[in-house]
Symmetry: C2
Subunit: 246 residues, 2 copies
DNA sequence: GGGGAGAGATGCCGC
DNA sequence: GCGGCATTTCTCCCC
């Protein structure tokens, strides 16, 4: 497909809100939240029906450049042998420019997909599990409230221990770091202040914790309990079962 | 292209490490860090030369499903009218399965792109600007050190004020929130402890701060100074200039 | 490779 | 829309 035909096809497909996919040797500049410049190379470009556009290099999980949904796009022949695509998103303050030198392929088509993804094994699942069964965390623990709102953010799970101390529990589905400990401390500070109580404990629940974060946690007098998110428990059970079967 | 030809072309292109792009009505399941299920719909799929694969719905800036670089892929006819692609990444513990019902288009090609993106206007640029010119933040401020390491993380800029107090400065390139305040507090706590001093102040520098975060900041006795990242300053100057010209 | 923190983070939900 | 926060975050840098 020559560049003139590319311009016409692109414009038609864009007007019809089709999913446009093409590959080209191109340069990209972006101006908005920052300024970026990407010199000539081969990239695959997706322009979705919602107006979002992504530029993909041959490596990496994320687009090297992009504009969000609701962006307006404009295509023109720049001279005999180049094409320029200007993309504006006024509310976002974003502007992107692609200069196409060579087109490798072009495709566009109507798409139908109303489905949402179903996902399990999130932090919320972990919080639910602990709220339902707080003794997983500590003997004698009783759940009080989930997602308790404070002015300093919300607490994953609030419990009482067997000595009737309030216990603030913060869950992380991956290895806990400094910011998790800071978050826990922030909630405890706030509860101490608003409820005017001092017999309050903090527990950080995660599959693991970094060494330094654990030291900080200990400095603050809080506790770490290692628990995997629900999905990992299932996986573990299955693998143990399989091992048994062999 | 019929499904049998799709399987053959896919396998050939994959072996040659070409950039594969296709669109299909398909189902996707993923098992790894979580478990996901996505039922039948139209998606565009990218398989890059590095082994990473992404599934894109017609909307959104990010892939709905993906596996990272270094993943192994396997394609087969499932029965007369479906194709199954199995993707494994053993080190990551990831497994993905795509069942293709209808193929909309297929393309693959060699790509060349060794270029890295150039980017300006980051938090580091902001930190540099403040280190070079600390009086932007406060009259009489003198820079001491950039990226001072503490056991609780590193400090963006360390200064002394005109009364010889140590001043810890934390920069954010976007509106500051609770976690920025928590971060500042963590560093100050640590400096107080390790250096055994109490005449230490905290300043949070950002273009803006949320109301609640500012209350928390005030509770802790720290200070907020509104400064835009370098690029925004330029932008502001330009827009003021333009206004003057009209 | 782990730890720590930024990112043009993105996306989701709540108010 | 802002706020608060998780994310299969991803990416980079430093130890």
């Amino acid at each position: 497909m020559d560049l003139q035909k590319f311009v016409i096809n692109f414009a038609n497909s864009y007007r019809k809100k089709e999913f446009i996919v093409f590959s080209a040797e191109c340069e990209v500049t972006y101006s908005g939240k920052t300024e970026t410049k990407l010199s000539l190379g081969d990239r695959v470009i997706l322009l979705k029906p919602d107006g979002s556009l992504q530029v993909h290099q041959p490596t990496g999980n994320v687009p090297i450049n992009y504009v969000k949904e609701g962006t307006d796009h404009n295509i023109n022949l720049l001279d005999g042998n180049r094409v320029i695509i200007n993309s504006h998103n006024i509310p976002q303050g974003d502007y992107m420019q692609i200069i196409v030198h060579t087109l490798h392929f072009f495709n566009s088509h109507k798409t139908e997909d109303g489905h949402k993804i179903q996902l399990t094994g999130t932090e919320k699942d972990m919080s639910d599990m602990i709220y339902e069964n707080p003794t997983l965390v500590e003997q004698g623990l009783k759940s009080v409230k989930q997602e308790e709102q404070t002015n300093y953010g919300f607490i994953d799970v609030l419990c009482r221990d067997e000595n009737n101390n309030l216990v603030v529990i913060e869950c992380k589905r991956v290895k806990a770091d400094f910011s998790a400990v800071s978050q826990l401390r922030r909630y405890i500070d706030r509860v101490k202040e608003t409820k005017g109580i001092t017999n309050i404990r903090g527990i950080l629940v995660a599959p693991a914790i970094t060494t330094n974060a654990e030291m900080m946690l200990n400095d603050y007098g809080y506790k770490f309990v290692a628990i995997d998110p629900p999905r990992y428990l299932e996986k573990l059970k299955k693998s143990q079962k399989s091992l048994g079967e062999f």
